[in-house]
């Protein structure tokens, strides 16, 4: 009897995991579809791998480009979501608040992922749109300066492929650039808040544990860069994140 109940619990968990995956895949399609329709992620035919021709029955042209863009956008979003899920759950484990990875997955699928999709959309827009080159350069400069600051902290004499920017703000932002950067900041704040709220609600964590979880997630990029520096030092391969 107890064995059967254990199996039923496993089946129930599996059913919930499948439901969650279906919800996530539907959300992913809903995020990636409009992005692709807006032209984000669409490159030239030469960048499309041949195996994608199977999906379009060998047809080249706009359909293939759309499918390739859709797959590319979906892959980016999926990768970022998985990284977020792992990062949040690692933070929850470290604070000894974990009540299972499914609870973290619920939080990520139902709330955090929408803010990730928003961040991705704004960054892609800045990367590809015209008239926002100062805002685009500013976003790149912030990331490069962040990496150099981490290199300085480690005291490493690591070589880095991109030059350190002389100034973060390359010039005056256009109105669209300003609004895009403001929106990026707002989405980032909401992304962190969704992590905090998800930790508190789904893992029954207190305020302090919620703040610690968010802090750990914020520090993960630092750990990534430090790890890359160490790996580059061991393998003697130039560091180019």
């Amino acid at each position: 009897m107890s064995g059967r109940r254990w199996d039923a619990t496993r089946i129930e968990k599996l059913r919930r995991a499948v439901d969650l995956l279906v919800v996530y895949l539907v959300n992913l399609a809903l995020y990636a579809g409009p992005l692709t329709l807006a032209g984000i992620g669409i490159g030239s035919e030469s960048t499309v791998p041949d195996w994608l021709l199977v999906l379009t029955g060998g047809e080249r042209g706009p359909v293939l480009l759309f499918v390739a863009g859709f797959v590319r956008n979906s892959a980016y979003l999926f990768g970022v979501t998985v990284a977020t899920l792992l990062g949040i759950h690692l933070a929850v484990l470290v604070t000894l608040q974990s009540k299972g990875v499914m609870r973290t997955a619920y939080s990520v699928v139902y709330s955090t992922s929408i803010y990730l999709a928003g961040l991705f959309t704004v960054v892609w827009y800045l990367t590809t749109a015209t008239g926002v080159h100062n805002a685009r350069d500013f976003v790149v400069n912030v990331q490069v300066e962040f990496i150099y600051r981490v290199i300085d902290l480690t005291g490493s004499e690591m070589r880095f492929g991109l030059a350190r920017p002389d100034t973060l703000v390359p010039g005056e932002f256009s109105l669209v650039g300003e609004l895009s950067l403001a929106l990026l900041l707002v989405l980032f704040v909401y992304y962190l808040y969704s992590i905090y709220l998800g930790t508190r609600l789904n893992h029954d964590a207190g305020r302090f544990e919620g703040v610690v979880t968010v802090s750990i997630v914020v520090l993960l990029p630092v750990l990534y860069v430090v790890g890359s520096i160490i790996a580059a030092g061991i393998t003697n391969v130039p560091f180019y994140p």
């Binding site: 973060l168 703000v169 300003e178 609004l179 950067l181 403001a182 929106l183 900041l185 707002v186 704040v189």
Partner: protein, 188 residues
């Protein structure tokens, strides 16, 4: 001694007339006339809105006056816009919460404890039969006590219902006790 006689004095004070921001409660002296119907107070939500707006305006003023400290006028503009958007979004969420609370009613009868609200032609009702109520918990922090409201958690873990932002929660808890005691007397 009957359950009603054992109630604290605060629970048997005269019926009070409250302002619209604090909800409405009706009950008689000496005993709790059932059904008791009350509405949650929106006072704490209004306080939070005032705090958020003050903090938002303060942050904007600070960034405006110390533009060089945040990296120059261009970055200051970005920060001001972001703070403005965040402040508006939070105030909007609080406003929606206030509307929902104003449209919520809590009803305690001899048979049920009910929480109901109607918004945009959609009604949500949560009801717990009185004969399955096993516990109630009053949660009231120092600030909540100062503002005169609290949360009553009924039947936590057993098919619970939470009555949030309850004005004069001691009185409502008294009415709830009456229902539980009446049920116990009937059973005995």
């Amino acid at each position: 001694m009957s359950a009603k006689q054992s109630l604290p004095d605060a629970d048997v004070e005269a019926a009070e007339q409250q302002d619209p921001t604090s909800g409405e409660t009706e009950f008689e002296t000496d005993t709790h006339r059932l059904p008791v119907e009350t509405r949650p107070t929106i006072r704490p939500v209004l306080v939070w809105m005032a705090i958020v707006i003050s903090m938002g305006v303060g942050a904007i003023a600070l960034v405006f006056s110390k533009a060089d400290a945040v990296g120059g006028p261009e970055l200051a503009k970005i920060l001001i816009q972001a703070v403005g958007i965040l402040t508006l979004l939070v105030v909007l969420r609080l406003a929606i919460r206030a509307v929902i609370l104003r449209r919520t009613t809590y009803t305690i009868t001899n048979d049920t404890v009910r929480r109901q609200y109607t918004l945009l032609l959609r009604t949500r009702v949560r009801e717990v039969p009185a004969d399955v109520i096993r516990s109630s918990e009053l949660r009231q922090s120092r600030i909540q006590r100062f503002l005169g409201y609290g949360t009553l958690a009924v039947n936590e873990g057993l098919g619970e219902i939470d009555l949030e932002h309850v004005p004069d929660p001691q009185a409502i808890r008294g009415a709830l006790r009456d229902v539980i005691d009446t049920r116990s007397d009937t059973t005995l």
